[in-house]
């Protein structure tokens, strides 16, 4: 990279971080976490509190037929996963894994499936109308066959 390109890249980075107008766009476009499902599913809206319950293994029904929802863990972006655990589940990763294991040992069912690949995750979502996962809003918008069922967190 030439010195001129490097300075231009640095300027853009600082501008997106510090300038109020540009920063707001970045915050609205990038740092908003949403819960998504397949566009064809009949899942209703879900609160962040119910999302927390769902990902901790508590059966949560959000369909007219009262079928329980299936949470899927999005591990394709480590920052997203960490933010989800801290801002929505309110647990460290170790504490979260332990809580899921204790629930499974008690007979509370399987732990949520974890996906390292976003493509595989979306395939699983589209194959199961009761499945939901969390994504950054801009990533969710990139998949036209997904719909947002909850707004989970937004960076201030």
């Amino acid at each position: 990279m030439t010195r001129r390109r490097f300075i231009a890249a640095l300027f853009c980075s600082l501008a997106t971080t510090w300038l109020p107008g540009v920063g707001a766009v970045w915050a609205n476009g990038m740092r908003k976490m949403v819960l998504v499902a397949a566009r064809g599913s009949d899942l209703g809206r879900l609160s962040p509190g119910d999302t927390r319950k769902l990902f901790l293994g508590v059966p949560v029904a959000a369909t007219p037929s009262n079928d329980p929802m299936h949470p899927l863990r999005n591990a394709s972006d480590p920052v997203l996963e960490e933010a989800f655990l801290q801002k929505v589940v309110f647990m460290s990763r170790d504490a979260y894994e332990r809580a899921l294991l204790i629930r499974a040992m008690r007979g509370g069912g399987s732990r949520p499936a974890r996906f390292d690949s976003e493509t595989a995750l979306v395939d699983a979502l589209l194959a199961d109308k009761s499945a939901v996962t969390y994504m950054w809003a801009d990533r969710a918008a990139a998949w036209p066959n997904l719909k947002v069922v909850a707004e989970l967190w937004q960076e201030n």
Binding site: N66, D67, A99, M105, R106, G107
Partner: protein, 355 residues
């Protein structure tokens, strides 16, 4: 001898069948199933044991607990197989139907519904902070730990975020034969008599580990190789688990009432058992613990005379260090009093969960 060679053929066949049945289910997005492996290796050193005691002075014991869970639509299943050098057990195997969002009916083999420890950890060494289980859920416990039958469980009442949960079980329990032997549903099949249990627990939040409750159980236990032919046992008690990081307290109280019959004779006895365990997490990966177990009113109790290995009193201190999110190393020192002797022991354990 490798552990896999000591497993009963019936348990081996069942384990393979379960894995084969569960595997295809994974190919459908609507079904969920997974297998968890809980290995542990414990080294024990004991002092003060009398000559000829069944317990070894120095011993290393590897164990493996395999837990399978899954579901399809409103149906769920669970299987747990525990293997050690001395024991191979199909600890749990049950299938449940979610009747509605509040209630589930299951049939199969279950943990008995008493207390906290027996329903939370049982064989999952990695999940419990301590190495040693409390005496009341150990192999030499004075009450059945499993039953085969039906279990109904769910939510009874909800107050805001708080929940009152219930579990109700009925089935066939253990047989007394050199200690209580859990019922089997594969192999030769040793089923005891009626076992009834009710457990009520309150939790301030459905996702909170904090809970408190009561339990009641009635067990009719056939006796083999003794002048006694049967035991009628009523057990009631209280339990609580309180967690507020970095502190945790687990406490249980059991009230036993036993009636033994045989050869025209009858004897009865009552005793109390309780323990308190306190934990303090002094760094993100390190936890210190202390536990006191006490039994009272055991003078000449006819049931305990049949189980001299029962640990009446125990004082225990320990440390746990979580090496990674799924592996822990623990060290513990304890003083144990049984009906027939007392001894001291030091234990070191590595435990883990995979995957």
């Amino acid at each position: 001898m490798p552990i896999c060679h000591t497993v009963k053929p019936s348990v081996r066949v069942l384990a393979v069948a379960l894995v084969l049945c569960a595997a295809p289910l994974n190919t459908y997005a609507e079904s969920r199933s997974e297998w968890l492996f809980f290995p542990a290796v414990t080294a024990v050193h004991r002092t003060g044991l009398p000559q000829g005691d069944e317990l070894e002075r120095n011993h290393i014991e590897p164990v493996l607990d395999v837990l399978g869970t899954g579901g399809l639509s409103s149906m769920t299943w669970l299987a747990e197989i525990f293997v050690s050098e001395h024991e191979q057990e199909l600890a749990r195997l049950n299938v449940g139907w979610r009747l509605n969002p509040q209630n589930t009916l299951s049939i199969g083999k279950f943990h008995n519904l008493q207390g906290y420890w027996n329903t939370q950890f049982n064989h999952g060494a990695y999940l419990q902070t301590a190495i040693d289980k409390p005496g009341v859920v150990d192999d030499s416990a004075p009450l059945p730990l499993h039953y085969v039958g039906a279990q109904m469980e769910g939510k009874l009442v909800q107050w805001g975020e708080g929940l009152l949960n219930y579990s109700l079980g009925i089935g066939k329990g253990a047989v007394m034969k050199n200690g209580l032997v859990s019922p089997d549903i594969v192999g030769a099949g040793k089923l005891g008599d009626l076992s009834l249990g009710l457990r009520l627990s309150y939790t301030p939040d459905e996702t909170s580990p904090t809970q408190a409750g009561v339990f009641f159980a009635r067990n009719k236990i056939p006796v083999e190789n003794s002048n006694w032919t049967g035991i009628t046992q009523d057990v009631g008690g209280l339990f609580a688990n309180w967690e507020s990081d970095p502190f945790r307290v687990i406490a249980e109280l059991y009230v036993f009432s036993n009636k033994l019959e045989g050869s025209g004779a009858m004897a009865s006895g009552n005793f109390l058992y309780g323990y308190v365990q306190g934990e303090y997490r002094f760094s993100p990966r390190s936890t210190a613990l202390i536990r006191m177990e006490e039994t009272g009113g055991t003078n000449n109790d006819p049931l305990l005379a049949l189980i001299p290995d029962f640990e009446l009193n125990k004082q225990l201190i320990g440390l746990r260090y979580d090496v990674t999110w799924n592996q822990a190393v623990k060290i513990e020192a304890s003083h144990v009093e049984r009906l027939d002797t007392s001894y001291r022991q030091v234990q070191i354990q590595w435990s883990a969960v995979f995957p």
